[in-house]
């Protein structure tokens, strides 16, 4: 075998700063000057862009301009300009609760003129019911922080809970007593990039907080189930503030679970069901069902009748990754990615599988109709 000389450091003197001509043809001094100039230019570009971006940002933490009112649709406004990232509201169409309202919505050719009232709290996720609102916030910084903020009927802060991860689902029970939220736990930078979820439940009457519900005793297919990989998300409470439904995932499958707060136990009812949302009359669950493997358009919205345990698909054919919200007993609202891939829009669709989806609010997410 032909072996070559181990390379010594013939260029050491060159790189260490002699004014000799290097092998790439330029003297060291010229190279230093060129890099210095380039550094100055690049720094200017970076600083200028950052300053512009900082100016673009809204002044944060303005006080809430409005409270929770019946018949108003609350949402997170993601429209550019004033109020982006903050909670806003719109008057729901007249008589929106009840079949006539749905009929009115369904026949609407174009979305109603958008006279949204902006200026609510800044939230990544928002939900409100029964005089209580839940706002999941994220604050940039070192380290970045997330919070679940409990707000009263005037959207004033009542309690703030520090969390980790990225805000995902938020729900308030109809009475306003039980709150639940889900965070994607991700080591923001250095640790894992794979997601797992952390779901918390807060009883606002007792103040009792379950930070992570994954220790709830679970019965799967009739047998007591133990696995370290259980993940819960998307909790929805019944009117009694005790029974709840949620998704559990384990070993790559997802199940609908029915839980009981007082007994602190949960059991699976059905497979392939995510992000349940209980109708106001407590008879049906809207949920997303996995209809395709892989990452392309995996889900479709369905409604499950809890008395017959029969399910039917909704008229929305696009893949929805959201915990749908019941605007009344006949209509569901949910967010879809906005046209052109920017932001998101709120759409509505009848809960009985008929009709067609309607664009309700452009540039919005996290719908909640306060009844």
């Amino acid at each position: 075998m032909v072996m070559t000389d181990r390379a010594g450091p013939p260029e050491t003197g060159d790189v260490a700063g002699g004014a000799r001509t290097g092998r790439n043809g330029f003297p060291m001094r010229a190279r230093i000057i060129a890099v210095a100039v380039a550094t100055a230019v690049l720094t200017t570009v970076a600083v200028a862009y950052t300053v512009t971006a900082a100016r673009r940002a809204d002044s944060a933490d303005a006080p809430s301009a409005f409270g929770l009112e019946r018949g108003q649709l609350y949402f997170r406004s993601v429209r550019d300009g004033d109020g982006a990232g903050r909670v806003a509201r719109l008057a729901a169409p007249a008589g929106a609760s009840g079949a006539s309202g749905v009929a009115a919505m369904r026949t609407e050719a174009a979305p109603a003129p958008d006279h949204r009232t902006t200026g609510g709290p800044a939230c990544e996720r928002f939900y409100a019911a029964g005089g209580t609102a839940l706002c999941l916030q994220r604050r940039s910084g070192i380290p970045p922080a997330s919070y679940a903020v409990v707000l009263d009927g005037k959207l004033r802060e009542k309690r703030r809970i520090a969390l980790t991860g990225i805000p995902n689902r938020a729900r308030v029970s109809a009475s306003g007593r039980m709150l639940s939220w889900t965070m994607f736990a991700t080591g923001d930078s250095y640790a894992t990039t794979s997601f797992s979820t952390r779901t918390s439940i807060l009883d606002t009457r007792t103040g009792y907080l379950i930070k992570n519900m994954e220790d709830i005793p679970l019965t799967l297919d009739g047998r007591r189930y133990h696995s370290p990989d259980v993940n819960y998300w998307g909790v929805t409470f019944a009117r009694d503030d005790n029974r709840f439904y949620a998704t559990v995932s384990t070993k790559g499958r997802t199940y609908l679970v029915e839980g009981d707060m007082r007994r602190w136990a949960a059991r699976t009812l059905r497979e392939n069901l995510e992000c349940p949302s209980l109708s106001p009359d407590n008879t049906r669950l809207a949920f997303k069902k996995r209809v395709r493997e892989g990452a392309r358009d995996p889900w479709q919205l369905y409604v499950l009748d809890l008395r017959t345990m029969r399910e039917h698909p909704l008229a929305e054919r696009r893949s929805v990754d959201d915990q749908a919200a019941w605007l009344d007993d006949h209509t569901l609202g949910y967010a879809l990615p906005g046209s052109g891939g920017k932001g998101s829009d709120i759409w509505t669709v009848p809960a009985d599988g008929t009709g067609a989806p309607t664009l309700r609010v452009a540039g919005a997410s996290s719908p909640a109709l306060v009844r």
Binding site: L42, A60, S140, A162, T192, H226
Partner: protein
């Protein structure tokens, strides 16, 4: 085997005693700057995807898997291309440039998933392509008996960049109220600066002395040529030891997850835990490299893995929060300091100059693939039997792998390689 003429080796030893060769410092600076750039983006991507673009975690996981899979194979190609005609600087520079440009891709993609996938893939290809030629350049521009120190200095500088990147990104998001585009633009500028530094201050392979051109001779099928470094017995043993130990390494994310499970800890500080590990790595990379130069690199490499074994045992037996936290972070830091650069220093002298890049690429790819396997296996064991049982298995497997590696690694590394 690989004869360095005795007097040349002696001369270089005298010349560089106590300091690191200029090209190594230049490459270290390039890595520092580039890592600031790339870690900035890595730190904010999950947030950007989920909060800004509204992608589901499923899609995010898909993209993440995509970019982790790409690197391993591209690295082999990068190493091979660098060795052909000694174009180390050109190939490494292309990799750095590709990664820098991918930030503009992220910016221009807006919210489009296809554009984002392409940008991430470009970044990962760039990273894969540049790693082996860069390590080969470090190895080729340092005397064999100071390789450990050279890699130690490089890895310390590299880690400094990796530490600063996320801090810079979070500071930017804080200052601009979540303007992710500003993070991409700044990252691009920093990345471009890294490329310029490489172009200006890192000497090309041609400047490093004559090399017998590997392209001469009969044409061998590509697959044969990529595996060529394995024909050498010493390198083969190093490779086998690295792959064996890699297959017993469960992955940092699991370690942090286990810590998270066992600690009652203010959650908002959790993302900063790995900073502790990185700080230890940073402090010990140079001493570990120097130690390897003095007593042979085999020892720190094995002891580094022993430190990892100790970390697993600690996770298993210690209940006390503070002891556990400090112990695990320090031990994992020691593990990286004593193994990452040291492995390259171990392999360098066992490779002919004309095969440095492809040999290192082979070694890194083998290690990465076996670690991937280990992570998958540990995840499966965790799912099936629970975290404690999985950890017990990991301890047993790592102890066995350590024994195997101790037997495999050539004991007479220094003499056989260059005397």
């Amino acid at each position: 085997m690989y004869l360095a003429t005795t007097d040349a080796a002696a001369a270089t030893t005298k010349l560089t005693r106590g300091r690191v060769a200029g090209p190594v410092l230049a490459l270290g600076t390039v890595s520092l700057v580039t890592d600031i750039s790339s870690e900035m983006v890595t730190a904010v991507l999950p947030l950007y995807f989920v909060l800004q673009l509204g992608l589901s975690p499923l899609q995010f996981g898909f993209l993440d898997g995509l970019y982790n899979g790409v690197t391993a194979l591209v690295r082999l190609a990068g190493g091979h291309a660098a060795d052909r005609g000694g174009r180390h600087k050109l190939v490494a520079g292309t990799g750095y440039a590709l990664s820098a440009l991918s930030r503009l891709g992220l910016l221009l993609a807006g919210g489009g998933t296809a554009g984002i996938s392409a940008a991430i893939a470009a970044d990962r290809i760039g990273k894969g392509v540049r790693t082996a030629p860069r390590d080969a350049l470090i190895s080729l521009s340092s005397p064999p008996d100071a390789l450990g120190r050279a890699f130690g200095v490089h890895r310390a500088m590299d880690t400094t960049g990796a530490l600063l990147g996320p801090l810079a990104a979070f500071a930017l998001l804080w200052a601009t109220a979540d303007a992710y585009d500003a993070v991409f633009v700044v990252s691009f500028c920093v990345g471009l600066l890294g490329v310029l530094l490489l172009v200006a201050f890192v000497p090309g392979r041609a400047a490093l002395g004559p090399v017998a051109a590997p392209a001469a001779g009969p044409r061998v099928p590509l697959r044969g040529r990529i595996a060529e470094p394995l024909r050498d017995a010493a390198f083969r043993r190093i490779m086998a030891a690295a792959v064996l130990l890699g297959a017993a390494t469960i992955g940092d994310s699991f370690v942090y997850l286990l810590l998270q499970k066992q600690l009652v800890f203010a959650v908002r500080w959790f993302p900063l835990l790995p900073l502790g590990t990185a700080a230890v790595y940073l402090l010990l990379a140079v001493p570990a490299g120097r130690l390897g130069d003095r007593i042979g690199r085999r020892v720190p490499f094995l002891f580094g893995h022993a430190a990892l074994l100790a970390a697993y045992v600690l996770l298993l037996v210690v209940g006390d929060g503070t002891v556990l936290l400090a112990g695990v972070l320090v031990l994992v830091g020691v593990f990286y300091a004593a193994t990452d650069g040291v492995l390259m220093a171990l392999a360098g002298p066992a490779l002919p100059a004309a095969r440095q890049a492809s040999g290192m690429a082979l070694l890194q790819t083998g290690q990465a693939l076996s670690r991937l396997l280990a992570a998958a296996g540990f995840g499966a064991a965790w799912t099936l039997w629970g975290s404690r049982a999985a950890l017990v298995i990991a301890v047993v497997v790592l102890a066995a792998a350590l024994a195997g590696a101790a037997a495999l690694l050539p004991r007479t590394e220094r003499r056989s390689s260059w005397s």
